[in-house]
């Protein structure tokens, strides 16, 4: 399965934030959309990613976390994927490298973001589907 199959049913909402925005704003966005990460965008291009984990880590040793800017905290070396990527390969990479959100870029444009939860769900559905097909063949064939 390709990543495009997952993006196809996620609507077209990628919640983004600009580097100069405050962490307070970023947290509000995460909470409002009930998501775990924001893609940091500058003139349409992803320049970073900021996750709840980044925020928690900073909060653990900083009292004035709210006044920090997104740029202060974001991960700058952001790994991006393509809609043509294979689900299983991406899942393996995210597990190995321990990141949970992957912005998807197509022809230089940010077209979506997938979380490890999205990928696991897609893989689970793929397996469920295969099992159902096999069971039907056995019980009805």
């Amino acid at each position: 399965m390709k990543i495009s199959a997952i993006l196809a049913t996620k609507g077209m909402n990628v919640v983004t934030v600009r580097p100069e925005q405050s962490l307070r704003e970023a947290i509000a966005l995460l909470s409002m959309h009930n998501i775990g990460a924001l893609v940091v965008v500058e003139s349409g291009k992803p320049v970073g990613i900021i996750s709840e984990r980044d925020i928690v880590r900073r909060a653990a040793n900083s009292e004035d976390i709210f006044s920090a800017s997104v740029e202060d905290l974001m991960t700058k070396e952001v790994v991006t994927g393509s809609p043509q990527d294979d689900l299983n390969a991406v899942l393996q990479t995210m597990t190995d490298r321990r990141f949970r959100h992957l912005p998807i870029v197509d022809e230089g444009r940010l077209v979506g973001i997938v979380s490890i939860g999205d990928l696991v769900k897609a893989q689970l559905n793929e397996y469920k589907g295969e099992i159902d097909t096999l069971q039907t063949r056995i019980s009805k064939g």
């Binding site: 077209m12 990479t93 589907g129 096999l134």
Partner: protein
């Protein structure tokens, strides 16, 4: 107004399409405890089951047993089928809004992606889906002609459809005779002069999309040798490492099977089915009559992207393959429906978890839903559509409970039935289908075949005594 989904106000749902995604959605709606639902399923074609009838290979009857599940649903009193009725032609979205609370689009992926290479439109170069629809007796494709007097055929792609096509081209008249393939196709394929079939994959054996049973099957054909070039069966270091790390016995088995084929010598069978890897077509050439004669291929190497996907990269090495027919099977895409927002780039209806959304406002369009390949793109096996349709139905139920549905002025069974009769008198009910099914199966039994298909609307009407 009484509560929606009760005996006095049943939830009325129209489903467009009648393939697996359509039926799995119907199943999930019908099994909701305490919900009174009425389902009308519409298909552009006279017969139900979509790709189970027109896509699944005619020599793979076991895969078709899933229709028993669908048939049981269709026999329920709260289910009706209207075949030969087209959305946007016989009935418009406005008509559906007048008669239903919700509409679900499950129309699948009806066309192929193009290769986007020069010469792609020479005569003799076809989408694989057209060939599949032709041999499966699809009424819209029965008139196509394929020049099977050629000796060599290329099938571009290494998914299950590509391998189906390659296998069908390699069957003997005896193997063909026991299928439910359309009669005209059996006749044409029985006289086929095709000797070489090339299945072309741009990546390596470890990335081929076909499944193990399919690849095993082509190694056991009566009169065709399945062959793999030894140098192409050898895994490159990237794939080798990937395979070792994956710990995936199915994938390891697949590579094993292909490497075993690479050691085989032709046994003198009259056809050869070559499974090629690491090659991409870059151009087709034709003769003075515009018929395809040759294909130019570039050799690829593989590299790993940052996310771990193994991708092909062209080298400067080319080869030429003489071929008289080309079938491309490099992906499928949906066809837009009138008035339904369509993501043209990905070939799917704009949606979020199955709720159709307006791309301008990013908000759901009340009452409209989608499931299956037209929702997520072509992926998976028949059963993959079940969890997909369940996801959509969960949204439908949630919205229905909130009253976020169409507000139909005529939500009764009779008025839509009357409208269909006015707009398309030649519609087919599920009872009609059951009668046709019985006739097809009886005709098949006489010939030792699963069924003999009706392939035109006229024949079906005649068989039912409807002129």
């Amino acid at each position: 107004m009484p509560t929606l989904g009760t005996t006095s106000n049943p939830l009325r749902v129209a489903i467009i399409g009648s393939g697996p995604a359509a039926f799995y959605a119907a199943e999930h709606l019908m099994k909701q405890a305490g919900l009174v639902v009425q389902i009308d399923m519409f298909d552009r074609l006279p017969t139900p089951y979509g790709l189970v009838r027109f896509g699944v290979a005619p020599d793979h009857q076991k895969i078709k047993t899933v229709v028993k599940v669908f048939e049981k649903l269709a026999r329920q009193p709260n289910f009706r089928f209207y075949g030969n009725v087209e959305f946007g032609k016989h009935l418009t979205l406005a008509d559906f809004k007048e008669h239903y609370h919700q509409i679900l689009y499950a129309t699948g992926a009806q066309t192929d992606r193009r290769m986007e290479i020069p010469g792609e439109d020479f005569a003799g170069s076809f989408p694989a889906t057209e060939f599949v629809a032709w041999y499966n007796g699809h009424p819209d494709y029965r008139h196509l002609q394929f020049d099977l007097s050629t000796e060599s055929v290329a099938v571009v792609g290494v998914g299950n459809v590509a391998i189906d096509v390659a296998r069908i081209l390699s069957l003997t008249p005896k193997e063909l005779a026991v299928t439910d393939m359309a009669d005209y196709a059996i006749e044409a394929l029985s006289q086929s002069q095709v000797r070489q079939v090339y299945l072309l994959g741009r990546r390596g054996p470890a990335q081929a999309a076909f499944t193990n049973p399919e690849i095993k099957e082509v190694g056991e054909l009566e009169d065709a040798d399945a062959l793999v070039l030894p140098e192409e069966a050898q895994l490159d270091p990237v794939s080798q490492a990937e395979l070792a790390a994956s710990n995936d016995p199915t994938l390891q088995k697949k590579v094993e099977i292909l490497q075993e084929y690479a050691q085989r010598q032709p046994t003198g069978k009259s056809r050869k089915l070559y499974i090629r890897f690491l090659v991409s077509p870059v151009e087709l050439f034709g003769d003075a009559n515009g018929r395809v004669t040759k294909m130019r291929l570039v050799r690829n190497t593989l590299y790993k992207t940052e996310t771990g996907t193994i991708r092909p990269k062209p080298t400067d090495q080319f080869e030429e393959l003489e071929v008289g027919l080309v079938f491309r099977s490099v992906g499928y895409r949906g066809v837009p429906l009138p008035e339904v927002p369509f993501n043209d780039k990905w070939g799917v209806i704009w949606n979020e978890k199955g709720r159709v959304i307006d791309p301008a406002t990013k908000q759901p369009l009340t009452g409209q839903y989608t499931s299956g390949w037209i929702k997520r793109g072509p992926s998976g096996v028949i059963g993959t559509n079940k969890p997909d349709s369940v996801e959509t139905v969960m949204c439908m139920l949630e919205d229905a409970q909130k009253g976020a549905t169409f507000q139909p002025a005529q939500p009764d069974l009779g008025s839509i039935d009357q409208l269909v009769r006015e707009r398309q008198p030649q519609f087919f009910s599920f009872a009609d289908w059951l009668a046709l099914d019985k006739l097809e199966v009886a005709k098949g039994a006489a010939q030792g075949r699963p069924r003999v298909k009706f392939t035109s609307v006229e024949d079906m009407l005649a068989a039912l005594g409807r002129k």
